[in-house]
């Protein structure tokens, strides 16, 4: 009896704070549809790869919640010191995972690397507004542009800072497969198309992350992803097709997460090629003929948000006063008649669509064609696989109508307008000198109120001229295991360091 009591006391002592129990290691597995194409953060442009590399590398600041909202990462503060110069104060006492200290020299090296023709980087558009990088001291960086830009060039695009010494010593190929960054995780192994494993970095300036291990396990087939989630083989899956919702919502250990996406889907008219779409009345008529709420309800199962302008409500530059086109068959027919195509006689259109690039892209195109037929406009859908579609898109050869999606993580109207409506942009099949002028002005306008007014003006012109059929923003569907605490982002970025498990 006495011996038992002594051993009981001993056990109690062992449990005291002086000898804490080790909590079990937490691992979270994330399954996207594709593997990262490289671990060199300066050599890729696709979101799934950014989702992987951003656990090892960091930017100056991350997108926060809402346009113009940024969370400081490697930069603690920033300000505009003159119209063309933005100055960033860098975080001190940050080291790369190999011990190299992080300084402004690394920021400069990163920008120079992208601009260097020998690296043939695909990220050159991300640094086009940075003319010069100045490093007055190890913790200050200045980006100088040729003309004033309203959005800080160091923040609006993914610019992951790399270790200058490491890259120079090891070369691009090695550094690409053995990433060394300042981020919350370090790479343990990367087996292509199989899995990528990260371990928590205890020396991270933000403190040790809550999740000890992060595994990226790509599963290309949506059905296989869902199956993997249900069996517990993975904790988070992206791009859940609507037909699996029922299985996941009420699942024993799964839950559905959704968020309003920053990505919109639209139909553009190729006004640079001859055809009825060059007539403004025809474009307006078609806008009246399309019933967007019906498409959202029938094709997306309600998982979408109708929008009325290419600058949607969750972007900077949105103005609620700009009108949209409500479905009105009578108005459509009247406008068609006014344009000289009474009862749709003499008009026959082709709607180009990609296959499997965006959620239900082809079905949506077919639905629109159906709606146009109902208005008397002969329309056929021409679907194509993405690479040849994209090839023709860049040559402005898709005519008279084509379907496209656009996601602007900076949530700023400039990205949308410049890339999709200005005459020099390869993806724009619309040429309006007034829009060109206003877009340039708005990009460089530093006064927030004036800038907003400019975008309202642009949006109003675009509504009247109708170079698009503005449709909707997606509701992105993700699914996770019940134990995962995480909310999806509208820009489709996934951050394990924001997750926790119960």
């Amino acid at each position: 009896m006495k011996r038992a009591f002594v051993s009981f006391l001993g056990a109690l002592l062992a449990l005291s704070p002086a000898a804490p129990l080790r909590a079990a290691d937490t691992t979270v597995t994330i399954s996207q549809g594709v593997d990262a194409d490289t671990l060199n953060p300066l050599a890729t442009t696709i979101t799934p790869t950014f989702n992987v590399v951003q656990h090892v590398y960091e930017r100056l600041a991350d997108f926060g919640n809402g346009p113009g909202n940024y969370e400081p990462r490697l930069a603690v503060s920033w300000k505009r010191i003159n119209p063309t110069t933005e100055e960033y104060k860098l975080r001190r006492n940050v080291t790369f995972s190999n011990g190299d200290p992080f300084t402004s020299a690394d920021v400069r090296y990163t920008v120079d690397w992208i601009k260097n023709p020998a690296n043939a980087s695909k990220q050159t558009p991300y640094v086009r507004d940075i003319d010069r990088v100045e490093t007055p001291d190890p913790y200050t960086v200045r980006f100088v542009s040729k003309t004033p830009t309203a959005i800080p060039p160091g923040l609006q695009n993914p610019l992951f800072i790399v270790d200058a010494k490491y890259f120079q010593a090891r070369g691009n190929a090695y550094a690409g497969e053995h990433p060394v960054g300042t981020g919350p995780y370090v790479l343990r192994e990367w087996k292509r198309d199989d899995q990528t494993v990260f371990d928590a970095n205890p020396k991270w300036w933000g403190g040790k992350p809550k999740i000890d291990h992060v595994v990226f396990k790509p599963i290309p087939e949506a059905g296989a992803r869902v199956a993997a989630l249900r069996t517990g083989a993975t904790d988070l899956i992206t791009n859940v097709p609507p037909q699996y919702q029922i299985q996941l919502v009420g699942g024993t250990n799964t839950k559905l997460e959704s968020t309003r996406s920053l990505r919109q889907l639209f139909i553009a008219f190729n006004t640079l090629q001859p055809g009825p779409q060059q007539n403004k009345l025809v474009r307006q008529a078609i806008n009246y003929a399309v019933d967007v709420p019906a498409i959202v309800k029938n094709v997306l199962g309600g998982r979408g948000y109708e929008i009325t302008s290419p600058i949607p409500p969750n972007y900077f530059g949105y103005d609620a006063a700009v009108p949209g086109y409500k479905h009105d068959l009578a108005k459509a027919k009247a406008l068609l008649a006014k344009a000289g195509y009474a009862d749709g006689k003499g008009i026959s259109l082709v709607l180009n669509a990609p296959i499997g690039r965006y959620n239900r892209d082809r079905e949506i195109a077919e639905a629109i064609a159906g709606q146009l037929q109902a208005a008397g406009i002969q329309t056929t859908v021409r679907p194509q696989e993405w690479v040849s579609y994209s090839d023709q898109l860049n040559r402005r050869a898709l005519t008279p109508m084509y379907e496209l999606g656009w996601n602007q993580p900076s949530a700023d109207a400039d990205g949308v307008i410049t890339a999709l409506f200005t005459s020099s942009a390869p993806l724009s099949c619309y040429g309006n000198p007034e829009i060109d002028k206003l877009a340039d002005q708005a990009r460089g306008e530093l006064d927030v109120a004036k800038r907003k007014a400019l975008y309202k003006q642009i949006a109003t012109i675009l509504h009247d001229d109708a170079p698009w059929i503005v449709m909707f923003q997606y509701e992105d569907l993700y699914a996770t295991s019940k134990r995962l605490r995480w909310h999806p982002r509208g820009d489709e970025w996934i951050r394990a360091y924001e997750m926790s498990v119960t």
Partner: protein, 305 residues
């Protein structure tokens, strides 16, 4: 014998060179992937700069010359998508494909040949008919459909095996069975036909009349003579398996060379396509060499052809 070898090897080399030329021409015939690789917000100037940096704006002859020179040293350039040496990328994936193909080959040899022998030994019984029907299905159904049906029944409905990806031996069963189905069927029918022909031969009937026991007669004498076409066909089927791996890997998301090739073709990642084709062609050519050699060993008549 050695003259034969040398001649075959030279022929193989010519074949490889021919393949490299053909692949290069096909890929470069219709433009380049510059606009696909760059982010959507890139301007024309930026796309042009990228095109220039990658050397796509040089005349075709110049591009081919530099490609040929580098390729001879084993350097096929960087993958446009992954920014890593294309040859290394392709070689990295080879083990997965080799695993899949050899597992399927094992099924072909261990299931196809015995099934064919059994079917020949028991003609017109239900064993024979069942085997022949299954063989017919195997030779008629598209590989990817078999893969999808196997996934539907064994992965989705029964949950016995995972539906995709590489992992442990569980992940190997369905893809290997899918890949091997067609070849197993073919080998089974071939073995059956060869055995039937041999069993009907006069000298065997004589041997049996003389009183040699049945198993000895069939397995030893029969098989030896049937061996030649079976072994040859097995060599051909190994090539078919490697070819069919492309489709099977796509269906099961198996991280092998075949899947890499399909993705690379879709993305116009030229260096990777060239790397995969050269690897595949080398494998095929080597395989054919081995089959020819085997043939020459097994049939002395061919040696001096």
């Amino acid at each position: 014998m050695s003259a034969y070898l040398v001649r075959r090897a030279l022929g193989a080399l010519w074949a490889l060179i021919g393949v490299a030329i053909v692949v290069f021409l096909i890929l470069h015939m219709t433009g380049d992937p510059a606009s696909v690789m760059m982010p959507p917000e890139a301007t024309k100037a930026e796309i042009e700069a990228f095109r220039h940096e990658q050397g796509f704006d040089r005349p075709l002859i110049v591009q081919f010359a530099s490609f040929a020179v580098a390729a001879a040293q084993g350097d096929l350039g960087l993958s446009l998508r992954h920014q890593e040496p294309a040859m290394a990328l392709a070689l990295q994936r080879l083990p997965a494909t080799a695993l899949l193909a050899s597992s399927a080959f094992l099924i072909v040899v261990l299931v196809g040949v015995p099934a064919g022998i059994l079917s020949a030994l028991r003609p017109r019984t239900w064993v024979d008919y069942v085997a022949r029907v299954i063989a017919l299905i195997g030779q008629s159904a598209p590989t990817y459909w078999i893969g999808l049906m196997l996934i539907l029944f064994f992965a989705v409905r029964l949950g016995w095996f995972p539906a995709s990806g590489i992992g442990d031996w569980h992940n190997l069963i369905l893809p290997a069975a899918t890949l091997g189905f067609f070849s197993t069927a073919k080998i089974m029918r071939l073995t059956r036909a060869a055995m039937l022909e041999v069993l009907a031969a006069d000298y065997l009937r004589t041997a049996r009349a003389k009183g040699l026991t049945f198993p000895r007669v069939t397995l030893w004498h029969g098989l030896r003579n049937a061996l030649l076409p079976i072994v040859t066909q097995l060599g051909v089927e190994l090539g078919t398996l490697l070819s069919g791996a492309i489709i099977t890997e796509t269906v099961f998301a198996w991280p092998g060379v075949g899947r890499l090739a399909v993705q690379a073709v879709f993305e116009r990642d030229f260096p990777v396509v060239e790397a995969v084709v050269l690897i595949a062609a080398t494998t095929f050519v080597l395989l054919n060499l081995v089959v020819d050699l085997l043939y020459a060993v097994l049939d002395p008549r061919i040696r001096y052809a």
